[in-house]
Amino acid sequence: MRDYFTFVLKRLLQLAAVVFAGISAAFFITHLSPISPVDMIVNRVAAQSGGDPLAIQDLRDALAALFGTDLPLHEKFLNFWGRFLVGDLGPSLLAFPTPAIDLVMRALPWTVGLLVTSILLSWTIGNILGGLGGYYQNNRFLKAFGVLAMGVQPIPYYIVAFLLVLLFGYFWPVMPISGGFSINVRPGFTFEFIASVIHHSILPAASLVIVGLGISFLGMRAMVSNIVTEDYVTYAELAGVRTERVVFFYVIRNAMVPQLTGLAMALGGIFSGTIITEQVFAYPGLGSLLVNAVNAGDTTLVLAVSSIAVIAVAGAIFVIDLIHPLLDPRVKVK
């Protein structure tokens, strides 16, 4: 047990280092962007009203001072970490003076809700079917499913999503094709609101599940078809262990470990958002926020989203590493 604690402690230090390195990398890449938030705003103001060029220059100077965009890079870097450590990510420049973190927190529940559900669903179903498909290699239904998964998987996600919109929003208009909920309901813990959220999430969730299912199915099937040839499976079969037991406890369980790593990473990865889903279904979330921020040169907001993504993925890996020795007894803690 003491070994395990030292292990955890070491991993914790590593986690901190990874987060620091990851966020710093994101910081420098973000600041490479040639788009200046000041000029984007100045341009917006100038494009919409007759502009006196000297006044425009004054506005530029005023905003640059306000945003601190004229500081040298290393000063910005120190400022950034100084504020980051006390939990302040700074004001968004795209929606000045709203704090960037507020914008992220507003979008987050939608992204997390939609993605966690669809990832868990497609991962679970895909793995069970994939495990069976790898074991019962001659089952017709599973074979057909394999062919289908193989055919659907390479279709660009954008096309899958838009086809759903066309089918259920246009040719047979039964599903809403935009927004998180209807205009005539108010957010709250009411039946109407929840029903509306469910109704609006069906198409986006379906598109994600359709795409995700194939990936985990094919991955699992490949793993299992290797494991079934292992000696211990053959022994078990010969020894007359019940088939279900062989499938679930001898085969799938052992194939599970790498798949679990994949799941953790997929879950960690959701913080970058699903920009295409959000674009096609006009669904609220982090992805559109990120693209808007990049387009507007809003470095604070890009960094806020990226930082959360870095922390989430690093955290997911951390957790997986902690439970890995518990799941697979062959992996020894050092």
């Binding site: 590593q14 890449i29 001659n138 954008y158 490949a222 970058s272 990049v294 890996i317 992996v331």
Partner: protein, 286 residues
């Protein structure tokens, strides 16, 4: 070598189908070298013509013959996908096997970098890279960047398999019989890892091409280069789906599905070939 292929085609119908499918797409992509028009010319043929004898794949709303346009697109996309897969395979196999087998500080250092790479938000980075390079972002640069970002998942997967292998009997036997770590890694462990490498190579191609499409659909790649992604971008830019120019979308999708089914069948059959036990099982079962 020839004997292997002969065996494969004889006992394994999947291999034969895979070869044909991938072959068709490759030939189609190579046809672009003989294209009568450049890929950037517009309004050289009547726009919006459905597939017909004179225009096999129809023409798009920009007045381009889709046959040649897609031929260029597939040439670029295929090259791109293969480059990304190759670059990221080299990195992930090396890192995965080293970390898994050697363990200790090597493992910790490698996994430290691995964790940094895994936790980097790829999508924002690619968008930012695009904004820095814009029209200078050619296929090779994008492939290099994506190759350098696309290995850590698979390196971890390979490491976890190799971790398991390290504690297996045969590794101990090999160690006791005096095999060098390099030999053990690349001769004993690599075959076990190979199915994953091949499967992940295909998955990696799907990922990189999908990422290229995603970036392109949003307009975040060099739109001057014809690829599957930019083809879809321009189709979308001209509302092809809703207007009824379905061939502008459907044909590239059919082609890309064909390509991946072909690739997939190839990996499945190669996997079986590499792992003799499943080959025996199939031949016994057949």
């Amino acid at each position: 070598m020839f004997a292997i292929i002969r065996d494969l085609t004889r006992y394994n119908i999947e291999f034969a189908i895979g070869c044909v499918l991938v072959g068709i797409i490759t030939l189609f992509a190579l046809a672009s070298f003989f294209a009568p028009v450049g890929p950037t010319m517009i309004y050289v043929v009547p726009p919006d013509m459905p597939p017909s004898l004179s225009y096999w794949f129809g023409t798009n709303s920009r007045g381009q013959d889709l046959f040649w346009q897609l031929s260029y697109a597939f040439r670029n996309t295929l090259t791109f996908g293969v480059m990304v897969a190759a670059i990221s395979r080299i990195i992930s196999i090396t890192v995965g096997l080293l970390a898994g087998y050697l363990g200790g500080w090597v493992d910790r250092v490698l996994m430290f970098f691995n964790d940094i790479f895994v936790s980097l938000p790829i999508f924002p980075i690619l968008i930012l890279v695009y904004f820095v390079l814009r029209s200078n972002l050619d296929m090779f640069t994008l492939a290099l960047i994506m190759g350098c970002l696309g290995w850590p998942f698979d390196a971890r997967l390979i490491r976890s398999v190799s971790l398991g292998l390290r504690h297996r009997e045969f590794t101990r036997h090999a160690t006791f019989s005096g095999m060098t770590p390099r030999k053990i890694m690349f001769e004993e462990h690599l075959p076990y890892v190979m199915p994953i490498v091949l499967a992940t190579a295909i998955a990696n191609m799907i990922w990189s091409i999908g990422m290229e499409v995603t970036l392109a659909v949003l307009g975040f790649t060099n739109l001057n280069i014809p690829t599957v992604g930019t083809t879809l971008y321009w189709a979308n830019n001209h509302s092809a789906m809703i207007v009824g120019v379905w061939w502008w979308i459907l044909i590239p999708v059919i082609l890309i599905v064909t390509l991946f089914i072909g690739l997939f069948l190839l990996t499945v059959s190669l996997n079986e070939y590499i792992d003799p036990r499943s080959r025996l099982r199939r031949m016994g079962g057949a």
